[in-house]
Subunit: 197 residues, 2 copies
DNA sequence: CCTACCGATCGGTAGG
DNA sequence: CCTACCGATCGGTAGG
């Protein structure tokens, strides 16, 4: 069954690519280095994809799938403020758990591609905006449920909660400060406590 | 006076390099592309530096000098909470003013080098930590002056204020949201207002 | 500051 | 999935 083996190999390639990309950037994952890391030939790697950009787009989708199964699907709790807390906490756990060697894949890729127009950048913007807006939507729901003060702007709250987690990733990855995630949790908790009714 | 002309050319190279790096990353600034962008030969470019890493380190220093003259030297106001406000506001203005085509140089370079050990990464961590800790030190001073509640942790406050500005840079560069800096200002203002006595 | 060049690596293809 | 190869570009050097 060569088709099955091919799909398996493709997934192995993409797992390695997401990991390398969090360390060295998507553009830094050359076909040759990826092949070396996998013990394969270059043509064996790129044969699964139409082009380097196609490989990059597939790598982004692989990272999305991991985020969905590790974060989105693992969020529990009642809709509203409980779920809003669960979303940020699960996200922090995901980054803290070092599923990628170089920290959050999307954070690294965002910085790398924000100045490079094209399909990869567009997809990264689409996916990260979906997550930011999902946080905002949950805050809005909590507000409708009467759990958050009516004077709050849910999108503003999402901006700030999202900021704390991205800052923790930066502070942990570049500054290597051990208190990064503690600080993010403290910021999230006091921000949510402040708007709670 | 060949020495003067050489220093001038070197500065032209570094100005172009900081700008290209904010768009395409420090590693993406190849000697050949930099030479093309400047209308020079490759050897004319690299002749000013001992190596590619030396060029990258010099580019980081050039970005530091711009940050110092545009932000640090432009901060006004009395020490304490007034100065804390001025630091974040001047920083936001700097990023908002698009001095670099691709947004904050240090944010882009942080994400790129946090997974690449070496002198460039070390220097980036050193410089960004200095700025984060300067914000924290100003918050601590404001606290000693009795302008900030004694129960606040100045480093935690700095973490959060720093987070808002980095989030604005991300939101503006990748998502292209026009309200990015407005949201950062709102977050900074309400956070500082909350801890003020 | 230039031209001319070095070996290594890039993305990608031909052919099997 | 492989070997063998393509032209282009990489960082860097020799020599002027």
């Amino acid at each position: 069954m060569p088709k099955q083996r091919s799909t398996h190999t493709r997934q192995l390639i993409l797992d390695k690519a997401t990991d390398l990309a969090s360390l060295e950037g998507l553009e830094g994952v050359s076909i040759g280095r990826l092949a070396d890391a996998l013990g394969m030939s270059k043509s064996g790697v790129i044969g699964h994809f139409a082009s380097k950009q196609d490989l990059q787009l597939a790598t982004v989708e692989a990272a999305r799938e991991r985020f969905e199964s590790e974060v989105l699907d693992a969020i529990e709790g009642e809709p509203g403020i409980e779920r809003l807390r669960a979303m940020t906490e699960r996200w922090i756990q995901y980054i803290e758990g070092e599923h990628f060697s170089g920290g959050c894949f999307f954070w690294a890729a965002s910085a790398e591609f924000d100045g490079r127009p094209g399909a990869v950048r567009d997809r990264l913007a689409e996916l990260t905006a979906l997550w930011l807006d999902a946080i905002g939507a949950e805050a809005r729901l909590a507000q409708r449920l009467g759990e958050i003060d009516d004077g709050e702007d849910p999108a503003q709250l999402a901006f700030e909660l999202h900021a704390y987690v991205q800052e923790a990733n930066w502070s942990y990855q570049l500054l290597e400060r051990a208190d990064s995630f503690t600080r993010a949790r403290r910021a999230v908790e006091s921000r949510i406590a402040r708007v709670s009714i």
